[in-house]
């Protein structure tokens, strides 16, 4: 704000309400950004050049009608939201340097349908606003959150005490890197030596890293004895975590980076830093507490067979709802969470109103999407797979599947059948002696070809084929169960049928709590629209111990109707231009531009992407803790593994934009790990506000919010056109300015990483970070190269136009309020490269790159196609073993009850008569929107325990009654914050009809005890929390801990998803 024009009254108000008490004449509240105003230094105005100040005041505060300033392109910067993962493009409107209004850009297909052509001028687009959800609009309230921190905080009391001192950035970095007796001032920690990162950054030579990795792998494979390894590396054994288990990797792995919502851009930046330059494999993000099993189910179904193994695969596809005739949503919908109300909702509502589309919603809760549905199916939680298998049974029995599509065994057959994709439905699978399906039958097994050729049965003989053969069509029979020579085989379709027919429809109906008629109606409707019917799923169906199989069964429905790549069918989406620079003709291949890259190896702390049997840790079954060979980023397992020191102890944790203490089911175990000084000797966090997890940190570094920083988020496949979104600074940063590599930059995640890299001399950062004369000293040195790659496109002739003179002028004018620490056109031009600069400006001026809507479809198909093989049977899953039971997993979707880590069925015991589910209201994301965005909490001030009226009547509970949730592993219904405070899982009851009896739902955003809700003491001064931010309840802590492991929630052993919806609770009067 510019202070000058606001009058005396204003300044008096400010000094009364904001000026902090002082000690020795120095203002003490300067760790909050708001203190910049309080101290009279006017944080925004002070950073404006005087010329801009005048210009903006004359332009931006009109007195005459028609001079509405928010319609001028000079007052608009396009960027990307992150109030939820949909990451919609945003049009940030700026007045006097302050972001005051956020709209959807006309350029973006997520905001407007059809969006305006990419070439549309900035002046025209300025006057056309698109849509954005309420969370996105409230973004300015996250940006200017009064509790945002500007300075580095160091713990002044025990972990979780919320007592802090501000420390200079350089001191904090120095302490973290060097270690020492850092908490002498805290009673009980006087003699605690904290190891620094320098003590973990032991392997620094890339050649040595590679040699250790190579030989450790040979030891694990039994190709080299441990003794031979120890002899060969006698001088380096102390660099390893455990010389007896060299495959665990180097000491470097004791540094763990744990991120919550991290996206492309920061993802690659932080991986370059941790994995490629620091040499630790332990980089994690949060997807297993979101919907990872859905990703893994897609990945297993879409991976391709190449060079003797299955790899690649898409993690995500979506219905082409713009053209669908029937969509059945399992555990999700179109209007609340999922991949975004703005891109999907209107396609659905207009389809329904126009009579083109019918939808069904499978969800125990009558959601807003269910309110528009042809049929609401209140399924029993965790049985979505049973319902899908019942539908499959009916569809196969009634022969309502696309037999021709399913018979295509290779690419040539698909092409001959006018299809773009094909499946393994007709492929033969070897049945082992115990009756279990194992590997696919290879031509080599019959001595009729090699291992890259598979086999179908057709007209009385085995037919070998190459799945990617484009010239000889091979079709196979679907129902095969026979022996070929000595080998018993079945077709994949036969295996699917056997799974679907393992129960009668009545039995399936009893399992999923949906009557037979409804199952048949759903299956009939699903098969009554040709290729324009889609089964869609998201979080609700997969955050279960059986999540992977639920997803597989639902995805199989799509293959039965052969809908991929068809208009109205299952769509891979438009994709994006590749920011990483790995396409021909792109100027900056960022992964390659890494001189001295160290690399990393070893078993991840979570034992993910790792087969137990392939490690030197293998000692028979059960393994001490689960291995997750088929998934990654097992978020909930990071801290408990560190606490259990399995497979090894850690020394340092860097938490970024994530909050395991609040967001992980059975969160008490996460809190208990965070306060354990021996399990996590050094813990630093980077956050915009001191949150429920960062409050346990030893140091908290302020981060930039998404409206002040860079990012390159990808787009939901719901969007049929190619889209590359760019997140860029829209307003001056609220955090302190710090110096790294001699450069002044705003405090943020990148600044912390750069400063540590500088101090440790990590490769790939600094003056010649990308190569001679190519510095990586500032965030934009990295991100503008990504924008240059997007601008260049994915091949020759694919570049965007250059910005013309007017666009260059508007580019500068719209950034007149940004300080030099963020924006300097000469510096930006150098970072992007002179040759690319005007094209980069063209992209930045539009907040990304968007293919025109006219390119979305070609005839009856989507223009951007998957066009490959779908594996209806997953060989990697079928051949992998459960690390505790030693049993093999099923390669075909099956229904499984709730199981613990040891593979035993979970029983809640008597008295817990409700299933607990969560959901997200459209007004809230998980932990950072409600209730701290006051525009949103004005509409929804608290959340509720939602219960069906007949259950409430049975329990004698009235609407509005205060109730508490208790569960078998949290019998008091409490969070113990381990700082003397306990928080009850308690809220008001909402009695409705739209909830399955026997199930209660609690929306997931409220129930904060930090993040501006708690009193915080900094430098001896108490900053009171805001009582509004404590409203409601967060149910995560009562979700069940695994009965076998006891220190982590129930988890899907294949997909890795944390179970949010398998807990039985009791609802008691508070």
């Amino acid at each position: 704000m510019d202070d000058g024009g606001e009058g005396e009254a204003m300044n008096e108000t400010r000094s009364a309400t904001m000026r902090a008490p002082t000690q020795g004449g120095m203002p003490r509240r300067d760790f909050l950004w708001t203190s910049a105003i309080a101290c009279g230094s006017a944080f925004l105005a002070s950073r404006l050049g005087p010329a801009f100040d005048v210009l903006q005041r004359s332009q931006a505060t009109p007195r005459a009608p028609g001079a509405y300033p928010l319609a001028k392109p000079e007052n608009i910067i396009y960027s990307t939201c992150l109030q939820c993962h949909t990451s919609c493009p945003i049009k940030v409107k700026i007045l006097d340097g302050v972001a005051v209004k956020i709209d959807g850009p006309a350029y973006s297909p997520q905001s407007m349908l059809p969006h305006v052509p990419y070439a549309t001028s900035l002046r025209t687009a300025a006057r056309v606003d698109g849509k954005i959800c309420p969370k996105g609009q409230a973004g300015v309230q996250s940006l200017y959150d009064p509790y945002r921190i500007a300075k580095v905080l160091k713990r002044a009391g025990p972990r979780g005490s919320n007592r802090w001192v501000t420390v200079p950035f350089d001191q904090a970095i120095s302490e973290i890197v060097e270690g020492g007796y850092l908490f002498r001032h805290v009673p009980g920690e006087e003699k605690r030596y904290v190891p620094g990162l320098k003590d973990l950054y032991l392997v620094r030579d890339p050649k040595l890293m590679a040699a250790l990795e190579r030989d450790a792998a040979r030891v694990a494979k039994g190709e080299m004895t441990l003794e031979a390894f120890k002899q060969a590396h006698a001088a380096q054994l102390e660099l390893l975590l455990d010389p007896d288990h060299p495959d665990l990797g180097p000491i470097n792995n004791q540094f763990v980076f744990l991120a919550g919502r991290i996206q492309p851009g920061r993802k690659e930046f932080s991986q370059r830093w941790l994995k490629d330059a620091f040499g630790s494999v332990n980089w994690y993000e949060h997807t297993t507490i979101c919907e990872q099993s859905h990703h893994i189910a897609y990945e297993q179904m879409t991976h391709q067979y190449k060079d003797g193994k299955w790899s690649g695969g898409k993690t995500h596809m979506k219905p082409d709802t713009l053209n669908s005739e029937f969509v059945v949503y399992f555990g999700t919908g179109a209007f609340e969470a999922n991949f975004g109300p703005p891109p999907t909702s209107e396609k659905v509502t207009s389809g329904i109103v126009e009579g083109r589309l019918k939808i069904a919603v499978v969800d125990p809760r009558f959601s807003k999407t269910a309110a528009k549905a042809w049929k609401w199916v209140p399924v029993r939680p965790g049985t979505d797979g049973a319902l899908a298998l019942a539908m499959i049974r009916w569809i196969v029995e009634n022969e309502r599947y696309d037999a021709a599509f399913l018979s295509h065994a290779n690419q040539a057959a698909a092409a001959a059948g006018q299809e773009t994709s094909w499946t393994t439905a007709s492929w033969l699978v070897k049945i082992e002696r115990d009756g279990r399906p194992g590997a696919y039958l290879r031509a080599k097994d019959l001595n009729r070809g090699d291992t890259n050729q598979f086999v179908v049965w057709r007209e009385g003989e085995a037919v070998p084929f190459d799945p990617y053969d484009k010239t000889t069509p091979v079709r196979g029979e679907l129902r095969v169960d026979r022996t070929i020579g000595e080998t018993r085989v079945k077709s994949v379709f036969q295996l699917l049928w056997e799974s679907a027919s393992s129960e009668s429809i009545e039995q399936w109906a009893a399992i999923c709590g949906v009557d037979r008629e409804t199952i048949e109606q759903l299956a009939r409707e699903f098969t009554a629209h040709g290729k324009k019917a889609v089964a869609e799923l998201y979080r609700g169906a997969v955050q279960h111990t059986n999540g992977y199989f639920n997803a597989q069964a639902i995805l199989a429905l799509n293959l039965l109707v052969g809908n991929p790549d068809w208009k109205g069918g299952l769509s891979a989406g438009g994709g994006h231009w590749h920011e990483a620079g790995d396409k021909p003709g792109q100027p900056y291949p960022l992964a390659e531009l890494h001189p001295g890259k160290l690399g990393s190896f070893g078993v991840p702390l979570t034992r993910e992407k790792t087969h137990y049997e392939a490690t030197t840790l293998f000692r028979g079954y059960p393994a001490p803790r689960p291995f997750y060979p088929l998934t990654s980023n097992v978020y909930q397992e990071v801290l408990p593994s560190a606490r259990a020191r399995y497979p090894y102890p850690i020394k340092a944790l860097f938490l970024h934009k994530g909050t395991p203490a609040l967001s992980v089911p059975g969160a008490q175990a996460q809190i208990d790990a965070l306060v354990d000084l021996e399990a996590i000797p050094l813990f630093f966090a980077c956050d915009i506000v001191v949150g429920e997890s960062s409050m346990y940190a030893d140091y908290v570094f302020p981060d930039l919010s998404v409206w002040e920083r860079w990012g390159m988020p990808h787009t939901t496949p719901d969007v049929p056109t190619k889209t590359s979104k760019v997140r860029q600074p829209t307003v001056a940063p609220l955090t302190d300015t710090v110096t790294v590599y001699g450069e002044k930059v705003p405090l943020c995640m990148e600044a912390v990483m750069l400063a540590i890299a500088e101090r440790l001399g990590m490769p790939g950062f600094g003056a010649d970070g990308f190569g001679p004369g190519m510095p990586l000293k500032r965030p934009e040195d990295y991100y503008l190269k990504m924008v240059a790659n997007i601008a260049a496109g994915d091949g020759p002739g694919d570049a965007v136009p250059e910005a013309d003179g007017e666009e260059m002028a508007l580019f500068l004018a719209a950034r007149r309020h940004l300080p030099k620490t963020v924006f300097d056109p000469e510096r930006w031009e150098a970072a992007a490269g002179k040759a690319h600069w005007r094209r980069v400006v063209y992209v930045l001026n539009r907040g990304g790159r968007y293919e025109d809507f006219a390119r979305a479809y070609e005839g009856a198909r989507v223009a951007h196609r998957f066009g490959k093989l779908f594996a209806l049977y997953s060989e990697p899953v079928a051949l992998a073993r459960h690390s505790l039971t030693g049993e093999r997993f099923s390669g075909i979707p099956v229904y499984e009850p709730v199981r613990d880590a040891a593979g035993r069925a979970v029983e809640a015991g008597a008295g817990f008569d409700f299933s607990l589910i969560t959901y997200k209201d459209i007004l809230g994301g998980q932990s950072r929107t409600l209730p701290n965005n006051y525009w949103l909490s004005q509409i929804l001030g608290e959340n509720y325990v939602i219960m069906n009226a007949r259950d409430a009547k049975r329990l004698g509970l009235a609407d509005g009654a205060r109730v508490r949730l208790v569960s078998p592993t949290n019998r008091e219904g409490l969070w113990d914050l381990r700082n003397g405070e306990r928080v009850s899982v308690e809220g008001r009851l909402k009695v409705v009809e739209g909830m399955r009896p026997g199930t209660v739902a609690v929306s997931w955003h409220f129930g904060h005890w930090a993040y501006g809700a708690a009193d915080t003491v900094v430098d001896g001064e108490k900053i009171p929390g805001d009582p509004r931010r404590r409203a409601g309840l967060c149910p995560n802590v009562v979700m069940m801990l695994d009965p076998h492991l006891k220190d982590v929630c129930l988890t899907d052993p294949i997909g890795g998803s944390a179970s949010f919806y398998d807990t039985r609770v009791a609802v008691v009067r508070a």
């Binding site: 704000m1 606001e6 009058g7 009254a9 204003m10 400010r14 309400t17 904001m18 509240r29 708001t34 105003i37 009608p65 319609a71 005051v100 209004k101 956020i102 959807g104 006309a106 407007m112 349908l113 059809p114 006057r127 056309v128 606003d129 698109g130 849509k131 954005i132 959800c133 309420p134 409230a138 300015v140 309230q141 009064p146 509790y147 209007f335 109300p341 909702s345 209107e346 396609k347 509502t349 207009s350 329904i352 126009e354 009558f366 807003k368 269910a370 309110a371 528009k372 609401w376 459209i922 007004l923 006051y934 004005q938 509409i939 069906n948 409705v992 009809e993 739209g994 009896p997 805001d1026």
Partner: protein, 251 residues
């Protein structure tokens, strides 16, 4: 699917080429497409810099029926810009203007204070008026946030809430179809942001406008039409369930 926003934007630019007295703004809200997301409500608060408790637009929600046959209806409301506005009865004539395009303008320097607010509120059957009592969302936090200190552009004039003149403090405030945006060639904020695509807006005098076309082709009703208020906001619904749910509340 129709190109809703772009078509209405063209309708708007065409209308702005005509003399003001030949335009007639109309709004249609499709209840079958409203998904109850409240984006319009928050967009309105952000667009007009509204303080706590002042929401020109609200989305009401009602559940009806019995498990498992449940209905849920979402009902956005705002000032209906009545052609016979009952709210202004007894007000001095210089307190308000009925623009030729239909927008009911409150003159902030003339319509002030809690008493006048109560009178107007009593007279409005649509509960569409609010009093700006000077509060801020962030007043009990470490500092007032800067987005709360910016001027509002209601009726095309920058007015302040921070003590500077001209002020909007103490004024009686309500929806004005975002006339400051209309006059600058932008559709109202609730219309452009509508996530479900339920909002239609344009010139009722233009037979080619999209709003006219939906009013012609869809079943449309107005709230309390029988009271002779002649509102400029229509509600569209083709589903019996919505009508039944409406009836369950309003008899």
């Amino acid at each position: 699917m129709e190109a809703r926003t772009l078509r209405m934007h063209e309708d708007l630019l065409r209308a702005l080429e005509k003399p003001a007295e030949r335009r007639s703004w109309a709004m249609a809200i499709d209840l079958d497409k409203c998904i109850g997301c409240h984006a319009c409500e928050v967009a309105c608060v952000a667009e007009n810099a509204l303080p706590p408790g002042v929401t020109y637009r609200k989305v009401f929600e009602v559940e009806d029926g019995e498990y498992p046959n449940v209905r849920r209806l979402f009902m956005p409301t705002n000032c209906q810009q009545c052609d016979d506005p009952p709210c202004v009865a007894g007000l001095p004539e210089d307190a308000y203007t009925k623009r030729p395009d239909g927008v009911l303008v409150f003159h902030y320097d003339r319509i002030r204070g809690k008493d006048l607010y109560r009178k107007i509120s009593r007279q409005c059957p649509y509960t569409a008026v609010y009093h700006d009592d000077g509060r801020f969302f962030t007043e009990q936090t470490p500092a007032r946030a800067p987005y709360e200190e910016r001027p509002t552009f209601d009726y095309g004039e920058a007015r302040h809430r921070t003590g500077e003149e001209p002020t909007v403090l103490d004024a009686v405030r309500k929806c004005h179809f975002c006339v400051h945006r209309l006059d600058a060639g932008l559709l109202p904020a609730c219309v452009t942001t509508c996530v479900g695509g339920a909002m239609y807006f344009g010139d009722a005098n233009d037979p080619d406008s999209l709003v006219n076309s939906v009013l012609r082709t869809r079943k449309a009703m107005r709230l309390y039409e029988e009271e002779g208020t002649r509102p400029r906001v229509w509600y569209l619904t083709g589903t019996l369930a919505a009508v039944e749910t409406c009836r369950s509340c309003h008899g």
